[in-house]
Symmetry: C2
Subunit: 413 residues, 2 copies
C-alpha cells in the first residue's frame, strides 16, 4: 500500500517554514505498514494543487494533504478539491458546532469567515477537529483515498491519531514493513561499508541496508517488507545481529535513539548523575538532554555561563584563569567542568567554551574555536576543536562532540 | 524562472530525517528571484528518481537534486542520472584529486568505493566539493538545467553558495520577487484578516498577502513579482505601511525575525540585560536566545534548575517555599525569577517551572501545568498555563509564551 503526502503552502517553498509534518506522518504510516512513495510540497495555487493531485493519483493509493484550510483568502485547498471532485459545497452541522464551541470558550464573536470554515464538499466524510476550527475531509475517489487536513501540526496530529491512522489500518490488509536501526560513531561511512560488505552482499533482496551519516555518526537502517510479520522481524534481527557482532565497538545503540539518550540510559542504569556548564552552546546541550522524557532521573540541571562574571559566580572559574588564558582555553573549560561537578554534586559534568561566531573571533582564536571538557571525580578529558564559521552549526557540533567525549569517558574507550 | 527541488532518500520518507535542505534552498533561490514551484522528496529507487525527473521537467526550468551521492550501495542517483541522459560514466581527475587530498589529510587509505565517487556522467560540468568527497554535477538537457548535489547539508550549501547560485544569477535575466514580513501577536488569524480586509482587497493582483499562524503569533507576508525591482519594492513597502499603521499594537517586528530576536534588539538598543531560570524548559529558552548572533550583548547566561536542590543553590529559592507550595507554583516561579535577577544582576529575568510530561503529573498539577514569571526590579508578572500532554510541545509553548510575557512587560502593554 503506497501513500503520497502533499503539503500545501508557499511558506514551505520559500523556506520560511520547515515541513516537519511530513516526517511525522511518514513515521506513523510506516508503523502501520504503509510506505510513503513521495512527499510533494507545493504552492497554494489552484493549478499547482490540481497537478499534484493528478500526479499523486498516478503514484499512490492513499493521498494525504495538509495545509490551506485556514479562514483567509490564501487558503484555497477546500475549493480546489471541490472542483477536482466535481462536488458542491455544503454546510456541515458538526463542524459548525465545533467552531461555535471554540469561539464561545474563548468568548469571541463568530464572523462570516469562521462560519465558512464549516463548509465542505458534499462527497466527503468530515473528520472533526478537536484542536482547531478547520474540519478535516476524507474522500474516496476512483479507488483512491484522499484526505485533507490542516497544516497546523497539532491539529493534523490529532486527526491522524484519532481517525485517519485507525481507519487506514481497518481498511487494508497490508504487508508488514520492519525497520531496525544501529547507531555507530567513530567510523566513516565507506569504512563501515567495507567492514560489513560480505554481510550486506549476503542479504536477501527484500532486506535493504541504508547508511545515514550525520555529524560524526552513521546510522545503519535495515528494512524489510513481507506478508509474515514475525518472519520479517526475525530475518531483520538476524541480519542486525551479524552486523552488531562485526562492528561491536562502534555501536552506540541498537535502536533509533540519539547519543544523548544512550548516555542517559547508561547513567540511569548505573545510578549516576550529570550536570553541564555551557558557554558557546548557550543551553543547547541542556536542551538536548532535557528533551528526553525522564532525563531528570540523571540530569540535575546546569549553568549557562555566557558572561565571564557568571563563569566565576556560578561555577567558580578563577578570575586569574580568565585573565591569563582567556574564556576560550583549556584551563577555563576544565575549571568550568570541575566547578560544575563540585558545585552541583554530580558524578559527571560536561563543559564547553568557544567562539560560536559570526563575530568575536581573533587571529589567535578564530570563529569556530571550541574547547570541550568532560570530567568525573577522578578523570578529566579536554579537547580543542576547530569548527567552521556558521554559528548554529558550531553550536550543534559542539553539543554532539561533547556527547561523544562523555560516551567514551563512560565506556572507557 | 521556476525551480523544482528533488530530495532523494528513504530516510526522509520514513520520517527518520527532516528535510531542512529544501527550506534553505528555497530561501536562497527566492533571494535571487527564482520561485520554487515544487519540492519532491522521493525514495532512492531508480523508477522513483526517473518519474520525479520527468515530472519535474514538465513543471520547472531548473531542477536541483540532493542526496544519493554517497559511496555505498544505496546511493544510486549518479547512475540513474547517467541512464536518464543516455550518457556514460567517466573518471573526473579534479574530483579524484579532491578525494585523495581529503583522505591524505585524515591519513586514511583510499579504497575502491572512494575512487568510484570521482566518476561522473560525461555530459556534466563537475562542481567541486570543498567539504566532502562526492562531486556535484551540473547538466544542461533540453532547455533545462539539472543539478545534482550531496544531501549532507553543509556540502550542499557550499556548492550552492560557491557555484550554483552565482551561475544561475549569471545565466538568467529574472523577474524580481520581493517579500516583506510583519510579525504580529495577540490577535487571531481571522480577526487580523477582518481588521485589514479593505487593505487586502485593494492590493493589485501581483501583490499577494499570506497569513502564517504559529503558536500565538501570525506572520503576514506580502509578496510581489515584477520586472522593475525598485518599483516592486516600493509597492510592497507602501502596502505594508498601510497594514502596520492599522494593526500597530499587535506588531512585534516588521522583518522576518523571531520574538526573541525582537526582544534582544530592544534590550540592546536600551542597554538592558536579561537572565533566565529554567526548570521545565531545561535550557531551551537560553538556547533560543543564544542562537541569535550578538545575544551576549544583552544576555548574560542563566540557570537550568532541574532538581529542587539546584533551585535553592543556584538562585536562592527557599526550601520552605518548595515544601509548602511545590516546585510548580506561583511562589516558586516568582522566587526563581527574582532570585535569578538578583543573583546575576540583570535588568530582566524570565523563569518557568512546570510538568513537561509525559510523567510527573498529579491530579492537582497534571502534565502540561506550567508557571511562567517575568520580572524587572520593580515589576513582577506571573501566569499559569495549562498546556497539553506532549513534552516537546509543552517545552516550546512555555518558551514562546515566556517571550510574549517579557515583550508585554518591556512594552508596557
Amino acid at each position: 500500500m503506497l501513500a503520497e503526502i502533499i503539503t500545501i503552502g508557499d511558506e514551505i517553498l520559500i523556506g520560511q517554514v520547515i515541513d516537519t509534518n511530513s516526517a511525522w506522518m511518514g513515521q506513523r504510516l510506516n508503523e502501520i505498514g504503509i510506505s510513503v512513495k513521495q512527499i510533494s510540497s507545493i504552492s497554494d495555487k489552484k493549478d499547482a494543487i490540481l497537478t499534484a493531485l493528478t500526479e499523486a493519483c498516478s503514484h499512490a493509493d492513499i493521498i494525504l494533504i495538509t495545509g490551506g484550510l485556514g479562514p483567509t483568502k490564501d487558503d484555497i485547498t477546500k475549493h480546489t478539491l471541490c472542483e477536482f471532485f466535481g462536488a458542491k459545497m455544503v454546510l456541515n452541522e458538526d463542524a459548525l458546532n465545533n467552531i461555535k464551541d471554540i469561539f464561545e470558550r474563548f468568548n469571541r464573536p463568530l464572523i462570516d469567515v469562521n462560519i465558512q470554515q464549516a463548509e465542505v464538499p458534499d462527497n466527503c466524510i468530515v473528520i472533526q477537529n478537536h484542536n482547531g476550527t478547520a474540519p478535516g475531509m476524507w474522500f474516496e475517489f476512483k479507488d483512491k483515498i484522499i484526505v485533507s487536513m490542516p497544516g497546523v501540526p497539532f491539529e493534523m496530529i490529532g486527526m491522524m491519531e484519532d481517525y485517519v491512522l485507525p481507519e487506514l489500518q481497518k481498511r487494508f490488509n497490508i504487508d508488514s514493513i520492519f525497520h531496525k536501526t544501529i547507531i555507530t560513531a567513530g567510523i566513516g561511512e565507506s569504512f563501515l561499508a567495507k567492514e560489513i560488505e560480505d554481510i550486506e552482499d549476503s542479504l536477501p533482496s527484500h532486506i535493504k541496508l541504508a547508511y545515514l551519516p550525520k555529524l560524526g555518526q552513521v546510522r545503519l537502517r535495515l528494512s524489510a517488507i513481507g506478508t509474515n510479520k514475525e518472519h520479517v522481524e526475525k530475518e531483520v534481527d538476524q541480519a542486525s545481529e551479524l552486523i552488531i557482532n562485526r562492528i561491536d565497538k562502534y555501536v552506540i545503540a541498537t535502536e533509533d535513539i540519539s547519543i544523548q539518550e544512550a548516555i542517559l540510559n547508561y547513567l540511569k542504569a548505573n545510578n549516576l548523575t550529570l550536570t553541564t556548564a555551557e558557554s558557546c552552546t548557550g543551553g543547547y546541550i541542556a536542551h538536548l538532554i532535557t528533551s528526553i522524557p525522564g532525563s531528570s532521573n540523571a540530569y540535575v540541571g546546569g549553568a549557562v555561563t555566557y558572561s565571564n562574571e557568571l563563569k566565576q559566580k556560578m561555577i567558580g572559574v578563577k578570575a586569574e584563569t580568565l585573565a591569563l588564558h582567556g574564556a576560550v582555553s583549556e584551563q577555563t573549560v576544565i575549571e568550568m567542568a570541575q566547578g560544575a561537578l563540585n558545585t552541583y554534586h554530580t558524578d559527571y559534568a560536561i563543559a564547553c567554551t568557544g567562539v560560536a561566531g559570526p563575530d568575536g573571533g581573533t587571529p589567535d582564536k578564530p570563529v569556530g574555536t571550541v574547547w570541550i571538557a568532560v570530567v568525573s571525580k577522578n578523570q578529566t578529558v579536554a579537547k580543542k576543536f576547530q569548527f567552521g564559521n556558521k554559528r548554529l552549526q558550531n553550536i550543534e557540533r559542539t553539543a554532539i562532540n561533547s556527547f561523544y567525549m562523555l560516551w567514551r569517558l563512560l565506556k572507557n574507550i
